[in-house]
């Protein structure tokens, strides 16, 4: 293969920016520099761009324009949804339900809320990484004010029964909590009409859908109250202060339009590549297991444990050969603990250290998968030859 060839298979971490998005953003970065809150022409032009983007996003997810709050991305959106919704509704109750495999942006918000006197139930998941809607129902209490269950998991791609959960919550005689879902990974792969899903709040990130980084939004229904977590100039209905990131918001809106248009085609294309990749790996490498189920799984997600092959070593070796992927191994994490998602779906510790995640993207070709496959086979052979675990 050629010098410096790169095959990017870490699209769940973040995606490259689409050319059309970049083209659209340039003029806003350069020419539309006004503050949307200003009265003058520069300000009004910027405000118009933000409002146009807001209404485009609202029409794609099927909500009112003023139900979209722009943020700095998925983490802030999750923080706002959890902390903002809980704090604004604490007079109604103090119980929150979430799952044990949420993104840290949700889990750490829950930990913060526990410190503030809320009670949080962390639902376990089955071996496929799925939350049971019935289990969720049985955990509802009279004072349950908020439920947050991710649409699809970032590590193993498991797709949660969001519609089923929202139906249960609506029919519940015990409680009618606000329902939030983190759709950072699902967006672009699964339908995200909020009324079909039955959610009251939804997190979307631009950096996972070929848009710019540092921008995202949270849909929060007008039916529910939210408290701000960032205070200041009162932008975004006072829920999220700070001068709007105009060019990024425009780029995000464009990225969402493209992702929405391409969704079905991409799902088919990526599912084919995913299944091909997994079946070839199984044919060519021994002692491999797929982490998570295959039926309710994002089309782009491949998460494996390869016995005796520590994840960080494999990621760095593949990187040297031009392939970008990631691992749930402890060695690669900041806190030196293996992935909480893998542990919660029952992957033994030994195999959690041996996990590797490939996530296919819009620009991945079959030839990229073949290249990655060949390099993976070689790297596994090399690492196993020097491994203590046979």
């Amino acid at each position: 293969m050629g010098y410096g060839k790169r095959v990017y298979l870490d699209n769940a971490s973040t995606t490259p920016i689409a050319q059309d998005v970049l083209d659209k953003m340039f003029s806003y970065l350069k020419e539309v520099y006004g503050n949307p809150s200003s009265l003058h022409k520069e300000g009004r032009t910027a405000k118009k761009a933000v409002q146009k983007s807001r209404s485009n996003i609202a029409s794609i997810i099927g909500c009112d324009t003023d139900e979209i709050i722009f943020t700095s991305g998925g983490t802030e959106s999750d923080n706002l949804a959890l902390i903002g919704l809980a704090e604004a509704n604490r007079h109604k109750g103090k119980h929150i339900i979430t799952s044990s495999i949420e993104h840290k942006a949700v889990l750490d918000s829950c930990k913060e809320l526990e410190k503030r006197g809320f009670e949080v139930t962390y639902l376990g998941v089955d071996g496929d990484g799925l939350v049971s809607a019935e289990n969720l129902e049985s955990n509802l209490k009279k004072d349950t004010i908020l439920v947050s269950i991710m649409y699809a998991n970032n590590e193993i791609g498991s797709i949660q029964p969001i519609k089923k959960i929202s139906k249960i919550l609506k029919q519940s005689k015990t409680a009618n909590p606000i329902f939030h879902s983190d759709a950072c990974q699902a967006c672009g792969a699964l339908p995200i009409k909020v009324n079909d899903l039955g959610v009251d709040a939804l997190t979307i990130s631009s950096s996972k859908i070929y848009g710019p980084k540092g921008v995202g939004c949270v849909y929060i229904s007008n039916r529910v109250k939210t408290a701000p977590i960032i205070l200041g100039g009162g932008q975004e209905k006072g829920i999220r202060s700070g001068t709007e990131n105009v060019a990024s918001i425009v780029g995000f809106s464009k990225a969402l339009s493209i992702a929405n248009e391409k969704m079905e085609k991409m799902s088919v294309q990526q599912t084919k590549l995913r299944d091909y990749f997994i079946s070839e790996i199984m044919k060519n490498i021994t002692d491999v297991s797929v982490n998570g189920g295959i039926v309710y799984r994002l089309p782009n997600n491949i998460n494996l444990s390869i016995k005796g092959v520590e994840g960080e070593s494999l990621v760095l070796m593949l990187d040297d050969l031009g392939i970008a992927c990631s691992t749930g191994s402890a060695c690669s994490s900041i806190d030196l603990n293996p992935s909480h998602v893998l542990i919660n779906i029952g992957v033994p510790l030994e195999l959690a250290h041996c996990s590797v995640r490939f996530t296919i993207g819009r620009y991945t070709r079959k030839s990229d998968i073949d290249y990655a496959l060949n390099q993976l086979i070689d790297c596994v052979r090399k690492i196993r030859s020097m491994s203590s675990v046979k």
Partner: protein
Amino acid sequence: MRQKNKEYVISKITTGKKCKNNSRIDGEDWVYSPEVREHFFYPKNILFDETGYKADGIGTVGSPECGDVINVWIKIDKMTERIKDCKWRTFGCASAIASASMMSQMALENGGMTLNEAKNLKPQQIIERLGGLPDRKFHCSVLSHKALRDAVLNYFEHYAK
């Protein structure tokens, strides 16, 4: 600024030689030091197959559950009481592999470590030779010096009679 540029040049020279494809992209700015990089991609003294390898001492530390295991095999020159061969295999991250490789290199340098030196090898000595490790990775090299010590103790127990 000047200092920074100098470091850039030095690391580029020391890592640039053997990097296959992507030295252009990340050769000068990897997750670990150039020495770790070298020992990770070109590990020295691996024992691929211990069948027929007549070790005088064997050491094993760590567990797969914890994410790090290292096996060490040593041969001893009984006249001089120095290590004359040191081989290893490891299950672990890049710094664990590099520290095992560096440990084996150190054990064999200058005519081989004396058993006393080997027994008393400090993790800090390995880390220094590796050009440093991130703080949270210190335990990886603690493992390889322990495995060497285990091998020496094993030699004393079973073979040095």
